[in-house]
């Protein structure tokens, strides 16, 4: 069977999973004790106001009709109306998502780069001082609260240099004020991703790209370092394992270069479990994004969820959770496909 057919099947199989997820989320909001509308209003309420809100939100209908409305809405990409300001949740999420995606992508790159390289390095210096210190770094980075790390980096690389009169890196935001890149025209089509680094390049502005990159440095380092601990550990242990295997010795015995042995034999095989962890860490990354985004005024989904939870905005939370679920499903799909691609032993 071809890889394409596998991808298609695997994607189709994601559908029932999403139906289950969305149904569970729907039920949790409605079946768990506590009426979201009442919770929204607090203890003592004006019944008319409640009825009005219920009507606006369509929650005055019988539950099975609500479910049908909800599922039909989902199919149309409609996640309902936010409690707090009666705006469409899906629109809000789509406007916030690119920021989170950009932060997440660069953080993953930092985490993998730092984690895998340090992990591989630790494994090659197994049980040495270098190994021990890398492992210690891994543990510390894993244990340190993300926002605290963020504040430290903010102070060291943005606030302190500015107080000295040499501004080094911005502490907050995604790009200098008023300079959000708008993408560019290609063959008469306007392309804009919402990822500022990409949009800057689409628009052909190097200065915007560099500016966006400057703004990305601290938040992606914060989140990336916080996540690198897991990668250090998993890379190290897998590399130690793989490098001890016969085929590595055999490769050396054939006179292959150490670099080939280490990457093409060692890391390439150790990569598979790392990939699994990468998929699993994606959810953690989204969680970390909430804290990072607040510290760096990043304005993405993390901030959205934070605001929504703070305001008991149930439809917004529901929408965000479904969206996160969708993302995680998508990522696991990508990971599975990558896995199948990278590991010839996988039968698909």
């Amino acid at each position: 069977m071809g890889l394409k057919a596998y991808v298609a099947t695997r994607a189709i199989l994601t559908v029932p999973m999403l139906v289950i997820l969305t149904t569970i989320v729907f039920l949790i909001v409605r079946v768990l004790p506590g009426d979201p509308v009442l919770l929204h209003f607090g203890k003592q309420v004006n019944p008319q106001a409640v009825e009005q809100v219920r009507h606006i939100l369509g929650m005055d209908k019988p539950i099975h009709l609500q479910y049908l409305d909800y599922m039909a809405g989902l199919l149309r990409g409609n996640l309902g109306i936010a409690f707090s300001n009666y705006q469409p949740v899906s629109e809000q999420i789509f406007s916030a998502f690119p920021a989170t995606l950009e932060l997440t992508l660069y953080s993953i790159i930092v985490a993998v780069l730092v984690g895998v390289l340090l992990g591989a390095r630790a494994s090659s210096k197994y049980a040495s001082v270098g190994d021990t210190s890398i492992r210690a770094f891994g543990i510390v980075s894993y244990a340190i609260p993300v926002f605290f790390l963020g504040l430290i980096l903010q102070y060291l690389f943005a606030i302190y240099p500015n107080e000295l009169g040499h501004s080094l890196l911005p502490a907050t935001g995604r790009i200098s004020a008023g300079d959000a890149p708008q993408g560019g025209e290609f063959f008469g089509v306007h392309l804009q991703t919402g990822l500022y680094t990409v949009d800057a390049l689409l628009g052909g502005s190097l200065s915007q790209f560099l500016d966006a990159a400057r703004h990305l440095v601290l938040p992606s380092l914060t989140l990336g370092i916080a996540l690198s601990g897991v990668f250090i550990r998993i890379t190290r242990s897998n590399m130690v394992d793989v490098l001890g295997q016969d085929f590595v010795t055999a490769a050396r015995g054939r006179g292959l270069k150490e670099r080939t042995v280490l990457y093409s034999y060692g890391l390439r095989n150790a990569l598979l479990p790392i990939l699994t962890v990468l998929g699993l860490q994606f959810a953690a990354l989204l969680g970390g994004a909430i804290l990072t985004e607040t510290t760096f005024a990043w304005g993405g989904l993390g901030t959205y969820l934070y605001r929504s939870i703070e305001g008991y905005d149930y439809t917004a939370i529901q929408g965000a959770v479904i969206f996160f679920g969708l993302l995680v499903a998508l990522v696991s799909l990508v990971i599975d496909v990558l896995y199948a691609y990278l590991d010839p032993r996988i039968k698909y």
């Binding site: 069977m1 199989l13 698909y348």
Partner: protein, 338 residues
């Protein structure tokens, strides 16, 4: 020669009749979705064979021939897909409650890898005593005494001292003694030994095999030895069955099998064993290729794809296991030619 009882009738302790065990092959995601027909690995495919009371039957075959599955079927570790296994004439699959408990005590197994078979955090004395505890046999002190006794018998001396040791403190041979002691502590009548010495060094192999045979005599055990090592089959069995791709291709007394092998596969097996004599240059019966997959075994005679003597009939007609001389059964068309 096979021992005979009463009026020349053979008494089997364990008997398999037309025994089949098919394992469903895990379909891949895609196959499952596309509704592809489920496939089976035919581990044991229509085997009829018995282990005579008080004898040792060696089941010989290459890896993937289904011999271990057969051993487990006789212990009711697996339930058959079809056919039957009887123990003392009773259907093993039908055992319930008390009968089942007593069967479990009577039929024991010795595994190939003693290291994997022992929990590294439990002392070997406790490991040997545990089966008694699980079967609620006697008081704790009785159990301990019984464990010490069997430890002495298998040569774990001094037993008191060994009792409190952990598996990692023992050599491979000693660990296999522990596994044997644990199998024997419940006084079984039937013992399946699955490659009992394959993981051991040559210098201790003989000790362990000797011990097993002594215990067999002493405790009047009936044994099934599963092995790929023909030398072990030759020296330590009364009867031999040769298995290929889930089927028995030849069975008979040890003498029949080794002195007068008839099936080309048996011949190839025997001639393939390297002989520790540099001056003896034998003519080898070379068999090409690998053992085929048990998921899609070749039709008709399963050995026809590799057999040096293959002819037309072998490809179309499945040979039956025919008694070519008293007690010597062979499944091969070659002997119908004349």
């Amino acid at each position: 020669m096979s021992p005979v009882c009463g009026e020349g009738k053979v008494t089997y302790l364990v008997e398999a009749k037309r025994l089949k065990k098919y394992f469903p092959v895990r379909r891949s995601l895609l196959e499952g979705v596309l509704g592809k027909r489920e496939r089976f690995l035919r581990a044991v495919d229509d085997v009829t064979i018995g282990v005579e009371k008080g004898t040792v039957l060696a089941l010989v075959g290459e890896s993937g021939s289904g011999k271990t599955t057969f051993g487990k079927l006789t212990l009711r570790v697996h339930l058959p897909s079809s056919g039957s296994v009887t123990f003392n004439g009773k259907e093993v699959a039908s055992f319930k409650d008390k009968d089942l408990e007593s069967f479990r005590r009577s039929a024991q197994m010795v595994y190939q890898d003693p290291t994997a078979a022992l929990n590294p955090r439990i002392t070997i004395g406790e490991a040997i005593r545990q089966p008694l505890e699980f079967n609620r046999l006697g008081s704790v002190s009785d159990q301990k005494e019984r464990a010490l006794k069997i430890m002495e018998r298998v040569g774990l001396l001094p037993a008191e001292e060994f009792y409190s040791r952990f598996p990692h403190e023992l050599s491979g041979g000693q660990r296999q003694r522990v596994v044997i002691a644990r199998a024997l502590v419940l006084d079984p009548v039937y013992l399946v030994a699955d490659e009992p010495v394959a993981m051991l060094d040559v210098s201790v192999r003989a000790q362990i095999l000797k011990l097993i045979l002594e215990l067999k005599q002493e405790l009047d055990l009936t044994m099934l030895i599963i092995t790929h090592d023909l030398a072990i089959a030759k020296y330590f069995s009364d009867n031999v069955a040769i298995m290929y791709l889930g089927q028995i291709v030849e069975r008979g007394s040890r003498q029949d099998t080794f002195v007068n092998p008839m099936h080309p596969y048996t011949k190839a097996l025997i001639s393939s064993v390297p002989v520790p004599d540099p001056e003896r240059k034998r003519e080898r019966l070379m068999v090409p290729g690998d053992i085929p997959s048990a998921i899609n075994p070749p039709p008709a005679c399963r050995f026809h794809t590799r057999c040096p003597f293959v002819f037309e009939r072998c490809r179309v007609d499945e040979p039956a296991l025919v008694e070519r001389s008293p007690g010597h059964f062979v499944a091969c068309h070659l002997y119908d030619k004349k």
